[in-house]
């Protein structure tokens, strides 16, 4: 019993001695680590969308002040589409819009300059941006990985990010050249490289400065800044491209697709076809 008590006292003394010896060495690191960790994860979560102006929404245009410096082929295509010369900086001929004519996804970076809201979610090693438009998801990898080599071009591309203070810096490559850069109709190639710098100006305001580098399409890099407002009362809704065309198609195949449908389905009674894009001048 006496031995046990002595052992306990000795054991406690050893533990205390070790603690006293190690704490002064650990504590400064712990103290330093905590504020650094807090600064490394600013909170951008929430549903955001561009503010509306008295005339409607923001210009649907990453280059509202002046046209970006284009290569000759891009300038010709812009002339055909009427880049930014339509209402609110849209393309003048949006019957050339791959979204409207071919049900194509918006893709990035066009989704960042659109009236549809997006929700930012943050998790360890990854920031998710859920875009309402087309129910698209951008995964921004913040775990230190780089871009894969030999990426397949895609509508959302490949995004990696890191924090610089309170700013999330996002690097996007691997984008398909089939999408429009913005609703103004500006083209881009599969060499497009977008860098976004996203930070919270105040509680209700998010600012994104995008820099575009695409030497196949533009003669120099150029930038655009867009702000978004927090929409605390909103939730994301479903958004499917071309529901009108889907309904028309299903109606045409009704007997084949729904042979045992017991109740009448709500198919459109009339259809409004899109203009003939192939012959558009």
């Amino acid at each position: 019993m006496k031995k046990l008590a002595l052992g306990t006292v000795l054991g406690t003394a050893v533990v205390l001695a070790l603690s006293l010896g190690t704490l002064p060495r650990l504590a400064p690191e712990l103290r330093a680590a905590r504020p650094q960790a807090a600064a490394a994860t600013p909170d951008l979560t929430g549903i955001w969308s561009p503010p509306r102006t008295p005339k409607g929404f923001l210009p649907y245009n990453f280059s509202p002040e002046a046209p970006p410096p284009m290569q000759p082929w891009a300038a010709k295509r812009c002339e055909l589409v009427g880049c930014g010369t339509g209402p609110l900086g849209r393309a003048n001929d949006d019957n050339m819009d791959p979204y409207l004519t071919s049900c194509a996804p918006y893709g990035l970076p066009r989704l960042m300059n659109h009236v549809g809201p997006f929700e930012i979610l943050q998790s360890k090693g990854r920031v998710l941006v859920l875009f309402e438009t087309g129910n698209s998801v951008e995964q921004i990898w913040t775990d230190g990985r780089g871009h894969p080599e030999d990426l397949d071009p895609s509508w959302m591309g490949h995004s990696i990010g890191h924090w610089e203070g309170a700013t999330l810096v996002v690097d996007i490559v691997g984008l398909t050249d089939k999408s429009w850069l913005d609703t103004a109709g500006h083209p881009h190639s599969d060499a497009l490289h977008v860098v976004e710098r996203i930070h919270r100006v105040d509680h209700d305001t998010l600012e994104n400065t995008l820099t575009f580098e695409d030497p196949k399409t533009y003669t120099r890099t150029w930038s655009s800044t867009i702000v978004y407002k927090l929409r605390p009362d909103w939730s994301l809704k479903e958004d499917i491209a071309c529901e009108d065309k889907i309904l028309i198609d299903l109606k045409a195949k009704k007997e084949k697709v729904y042979p045992y449908q017991p109740y009448p389905m709500n198919f459109p009674t009339e259809t409004i076809p899109l203009p003939d894009v192939a012959n558009a001048k």
Partner: protein
Amino acid sequence: MKHKIFAIVLMVFAGCFISTGVFAHHGASRWDTDAWGTISGTVKHFDWQNPHPLLLVDVKNDKGDVETWAVEFHPPNVMSRGVGWNHSTFKPGDQVTIYGHPEKKSVPIVNGMKSLRPVKVTMPGGQVVTVDPPGY
């Protein structure tokens, strides 16, 4: 007369109103934004769909013949957040009056239907709703 349908009135107020032109599914140049017109009639069909909800309205013209007009609105999520519409906002048989921009004469009428770009709608319940801009 309960089902009396008013004749189409076209009024021109050149340059008096701002034009938002937010949606232009069939081309912004389709609409004569200097001109204003009103149609009143009976809802034939309502499709709550992307990219534009489609309302078909049977309107009696000044000769007494019924013509179907096609009216498209901002996307469903915009109309939902802005003015609270949903798939059951209009039902066949509802009476509506729509005030907006007519088509330019030079633009062919799609699918045999006339069209109007709506700015204000008098709803089946009588209230007037501004649908362009839809306010959010």
